[in-house]
């Protein structure tokens, strides 16, 4: 019992050193292709507003991108992240190639 408590304590202490990594444990809502199609239509009709952002390399974005997308190459995120504007509560939908 004491050993278990020690292990739990060690785990909790180790988490203090990895707060940035906790973001990687985040779970985000996933939307389907049908959802995406509807949302883009609704945006066009003024029913909703959101930013559609991809993290593709610029070369790949310029080759093929979902219409109405903003490109923020992940390799240059800090340089281009201002393209998302200052509204931190605005809905952002992000996508990439669909495979690594």
């Amino acid at each position: 019992m004491i050993m278990i408590k020690k292990h739990i304590l060690l785990l909790l202490i180790s988490l203090l050193f990895f707060p940035p990594c906790i973001y990687s444990l985040e779970r985000f809502d996933i939307i389907t292709t049908a959802d995406m199609e509807q949302m883009l239509l609704d945006r066009e009709n003024g029913k909703i507003d959101f930013l559609l952002v991809n993290g593709l390399d610029r070369m790949i974005h310029e080759y093929a991108a979902i219409p109405g997308s903003i490109n923020i190459p992940l390799s240059s995120y800090k340089k281009y992240s201002s393209r998302m504007g200052s509204d931190k509560d605005k809905l952002i939908i992000t996508y990439c190639m669909g495979y690594r």
């Binding site: 292709t33 070369m59 390799s75 992240s81 939908i93 996508y95 190639m97 669909g98």
Partner: protein, 174 residues
């Protein structure tokens, strides 16, 4: 990407998981402001590359006229320092030259493109082999045709447990 956006203070984020792949598969249109030539892209498998590099290394990777036998283009540069310290910490070990750059570095960079030799074999290396075709098709527009991708990318090389070395700029032992 979603994690990076979250880290920069945005709170309302969703992911369209299917990406470009599923969007196109569903028959939807895509914007294409810089199309790439639809040339056939060829790949080499990891065992063939290993054999090719072993043979080239025996000759110090130059022919009798001192031209390079093989050049690698490694465009796997990690997006964050954390990535760079893991997957990109190692590169293929070889005496042959490795050009390291990001995919977008080749855009509007004539010097980088000119730096790719016109002799010998050229192999492009990315993480999984999925981005090679973009680089190869792009470079074909600039007169570089002798490039093959590594099938399944650096992951295949690592999985095969073939020789690697610490990426020079990350070598902290010196």
């Amino acid at each position: 990407m979603a994690v990076a956006i979250k880290q920069s203070g945005h709170s309302n984020i969703k992911i369209y998981n299917g990406g470009i792949k599923d969007w196109k598969k569903a028959g939807n249109k895509v914007d294409s402001i810089a199309p790439l030539p639809d040339i056939n892209v060829e790949f080499i498998d990891v065992d063939e590359l290993r054999t090719t590099l072993t043979e080239a290394d025996r000759q110090n990777c130059v022919d009798k006229n001192n031209n390079p036998l093989v050049t690698l283009i490694d465009f796997r540069v990690g997006h964050t320092l954390q990535e760079r310290m893991s997957a990109d910490k190692y590169q293929i070990q070889t005496k042959c030259r490795t050009i390291r750059a990001q995919l977008d570095d080749f855009i509007d960079n004539k010097q980088l493109i000119d730096d790719i030799p016109d002799t010998g074999q050229i192999f492009s290396i990315c993480e999984t082999g999925n981005r090679d075709r973009f680089l190869i098709q792009f470079l074909s527009q600039h007169g570089k045709f002798n490039i093959h991708g590594l099938q399944y990318g650096m992951r295949a090389w690592l999985k095969a447990d073939y020789p690697v070395e610490v990426t020079p700029e990350l070598d902290t032992t010196h």
